[in-house]
C-alpha cells in the first residue's frame, strides 16, 4: 500500500501554489461577491492556467488537454477548492460540460464549444433543477417543442448558479410525454443572450451568484444546439452528477482552514475551552477520513468506473465534515465570526465566515445528503 500521490503530483501542487501566490490577491475568497473585480481576477487566472496548460489538465490530449492522471486532477481540485476556487464559475465547463460534449457531442459541437472552454474564455451554467423538480429531477417539466429544424423551450429553472455570469447554459427539458420521466429528457446548449431567456438573481445567505432563477419564454434553440439523441439526456445528466460527486474537494479547504486558524490564533488556540479543542481535534480526524474516502473513490476511477456507493459514502463524509469544520472554527473566533470579507480585520480575511455560510448548503447542493445515504444504504443492503 502506498498513499503517496507521487513526485509529479507534489511538484504540481507546488506549481499551483506558486501560481496562486503570484496571480491572486492575498487571501482571495473567490469570484462570487458583489465586487466585479473578484470575477475579473478569476477570469484572468483561468487564462494564466490555460497558458500553463493547467486549465484542461484532466482533458484528453486530442481536445487540447494534458491528459493528466486522476491523481493530478485530484491535486488540482484540492488546491483550487482549498483556495476558494480561483477558477470561479469556469469549473463547471471544465469538470462536466466539456467532458459531456467530448463524449456525446457532434464533431461540430466539439469544434465550437470545446476550444473556448479550454482557453478559459467562457462560463457555463447548469439548468437542471426546477421549482417542482429538486431531488426528483426526472419529474422536470420545462417543455421543448419541435420548431422546424430546431426547438422552442418554455418553462422555468431555479437555483441556477452563475447564470448572470454565464455565456451558455445546459438546459434539461422534456421532449417526451409528460409521464416519460427519465426517458423523455433532452439537453440543449443555449446561449444566455438568446431572446426569451431571463436570469434573475435570488438574494441568499450564500452570497451573490450562487442562486438564480431562469425563465424560458419561447426560447428558440438552433439545430446544432441539441445533445443527441433526443430523449437521451438522462444518461448525460447522470454522468454530470457523477462528476460532481467527486468534483469538489471540500476536505482540502477544511484542512487549510483548520491549520491556518490554529496558527492565526496563536496562543489563544491552546486557551480555547477544552470541549471546543476536542471538537477541533475530531474535525481534523474527520477531514483526514473524508480525504481518504475520496481517494478510495478516485482509485476506483483510476482503474475503471466511479462506484456510486463509494462516491456517495465519500460525499456524506465530506459534506458533513465541511459543516462540522465551519461550526468549530466559527466558535473558535468568537465575536469575530460576524466579520466577512469586507471587514479589514476579519480572521483569515473572512475565510471562516465565508466557509461557514457556504458549508450550510454542502448537504443540499449537487444532490442532497439524503440522496447519498439512499445510495449507500442500497449498496449495504443489496450486497448482503
Amino acid at each position: 500500500m502506498d498513499y503517496d500521490l507521487g513526485a509529479e503530483a507534489g511538484a504540481l501542487r507546488n506549481r499551483l501554489r506558486d501560481l496562486m501566490r503570484d496571480n491572486l490577491p492575498e487571501r482571495y475568497l473567490g469570484a462570487f461577491s458583489d465586487n466585479p473585480d473578484d470575477l475579473e481576477v478569476a477570469q484572468r487566472f483561468c487564462k494564466v492556467l490555460a497558458a500553463e496548460h493547467l486549465l484542461t489538465l484532466a482533458w484528453p490530449e486530442e481536445y487540447g488537454g494534458a491528459g493528466g492522471s486522476v491523481w493530478d486532477q485530484t491535486v488540482v481540485r484540492e488546491e483550487m477548492w482549498a483556495h476558494y476556487e480561483p477558477r470561479g464559475a469556469q469549473y463547471m465547463g471544465l469538470n462536466w460540460v466539456g467532458p459531456a460534449i467530448m463524449r456525446h457531442g457532434t464533431a461540430e459541437q466539439k469544434a465550437k464549444y470545446l476550444p473556448p472552454i479550454a482557453a478559459g474564455e467562457t462560463i457555463w451554467c447548469q439548468g437542471f433543477s426546477e421549482p417542482d423538480a429538486g431531488s426528483d429531477l426526472a419529474s422536470l417539466r420545462t417543455a421543448a417543442v419541435a420548431d422546424g429544424d430546431g426547438w422552442r423551450l418554455n418553462g422555468q429553472k431555479v437555483w441556477t448558479s452563475y447564470a448572470l455570469m454565464a455565456d451558455h447554459c445546459v438546459v434539461a427539458a422534456r421532449t417526451g410525454t409528460p409521464e416519460s420521466r427519465h426517458a423523455g429528457i433532452t439537453l440543449f446548449l443555449v446561449p444566455m443572450d438568446r431572446p426569451g431567456l431571463t436570469a434573475v438573481p435570488i438574494p441568499s445567505q450564500l452570497g451573490p451568484h450562487h442562486l438564480n432563477e431562469l425563465f424560458l419564454d419561447d426560447v428558440r434553440v438552433e439545430p446544432g444546439e441539441t445533445i443527441l439523441p433526443v430523449d437521451g439526456g438522462w444518461k448525460v445528466m447522470r454522468d454530470a452528477l457523477a462528476y460532481e460527486r467527486v468534483g469538489i474537494a471540500r476536505y482540502a479547504r477544511c484542512d487549510r482552514l483548520l491549520t491556518e486558524t490554529r496558527s492565526e490564533l496563536g496562543a489563544d488556540f491552546a486557551a480555547a475551552p477544552p470541549a471546543l479543542l476536542a471538537r477541533y481535534a475530531r474535525a481534523a480526524v474527520h477531514a483526514r477520513t473524508a480525504r481518504l474516502l475520496s481517494y478510495r473513490t478516485i482509485a476506483a476511477q483510476a482503474t475503471g468506473e466511479i462506484v456510486d456507493s463509494d462516491a456517495a459514502a465519500a460525499r456524506v463524509a465530506v459534506t458533513r465534515c465541511d459543516q462540522e469544520v465551519g461550526g468549530v472554527l466559527m466558535e473558535m473566533i468568537g465575536s469575530d465570526a460576524f466579520d466577512g470579507r469586507t471587514q479589514p480585520d476579519a480572521p483569515l480575511h473572512g475565510g471562516i465566515e465565508d466557509h461557514y455560510r457556504y458549508s450550510q448548503a454542502a448537504t443540499v447542493a449537487a444532490g442532497t445528503l439524503e440522496m447519498q445515504l439512499t445510495l449507500v444504504a442500497r449498496d449495504a443492503l443489496e450486497r448482503a
Binding site: 500500500m1 501554489r17 491549520t259 476536542a278 481534523a284 480526524v285 483526514r288 474516502l293 445515504l373 439512499t374
Partner: protein, 315 residues
Amino acid sequence: MNLDLPDEVLELARSVDRAVADAGSVDLTRAAELDPSVRTSVAAPIVAALGLADLDVTADADAAVAGAEVCRVAGNHAFPFPLAAMLAGQHLESGHQLGLVGPGHPRVDHGDLGHWLVADTSGSRFRATPVAEPLGSKLGPFVVDVALEPLPGPLAPAELALALDLVSFTILGYVERARALAVEHVTTRVQFGQTLSKFQGVRFQIADVSVLERGLRELARFTISRVLSVAPDDAMADSLALRVAALEAATEVFRVAHQLHGAVGFCDEHDLSILSRHVQPLVRLPVALEATTQLLVDSITRSPFDSLFSAAAGA
C-alpha cells in the same frame, strides 16, 4: 498511490479467518466465558498453528499491515485471545505481550495469560503481573487487575503507536461484524408485512454506520501503512486520531446495531450481545474516547495535525 492490500496479507487474513471460524467463531468466545482455560487450550494453539508467533510487525510496512489485518479478523469473531498485545510485544521481548494502561488502577485484558510488558500513554514502561483472576464480569470477562513494576527508559513512540493501531484494527473487526449483523437482521426480520430494510428510517441508519465503517477502514489502513516511516510525533498523532475514529465508530455502530435488532440483540444467544460486551475492554483500555481526544488535543497544541496544509504552516 496504491490502496490495495498486498496479496500475502489477504491470504494470511483469509487463513486466520478460516481457522477461527472453524473453531466456532463467536461460539469459541462463549465457551471461553464459561471456561477461561479455553483461551489457552483452544485459542492459543490456533495462534501458534498460524505461525503468528513469528510475525515481526516492525519488520516493514507490509508486516505491520499484515499484523493489523490479523487483528481485524480476530475482531470479526471476538476471538478470546490478546492477539494485538502479542503482535505488539513479541519483538520487544521474546514471549511477551505489550499492554497499554491508563490512569487509575491498572487493568489488562487477558492479563492472566503469559508475560506482560505494559506502557502508559506517555510511554513509561512497566512489567505487569496479575494480582487476581479475570473479573468474569459482563463487560470485562477477561479483564485482570495487575501490579506494575517500573522499567527504565520509555517505549519508543512508534512502538506505542503500533500497539494502539493494532487495537484499533481489532475494534474495526468488531465494527464490521456488528454492521453485518445489523444488515442481516433488517433484511430478514419482517414487521408490518415487510422486511425492516424497506423502511427509510432503517435504511438511513444502515447508511450512517456504513459510512462510519468505511471511513474507519480507510483511516486505519492509511495509519498502519505509515506508522513505521513517519516522524515519531506524527506516528503518535496518527494513532490517537485512529483511536478517536475507532471509538466514535464503535459507539455508534453498536448503538445502531442494538437498536435495529430490538430485544433479541441483548440475548447472549445472539452474537451481537457477545460482540458488544467483549469490545468494551478494547474501547475503555487504556483510555476511552474523551481522554483519547484530550491526548490528541495535546499533540495538536504542540504541533499541527499532519494534513494537506500543515507543512505550509510550518510545524
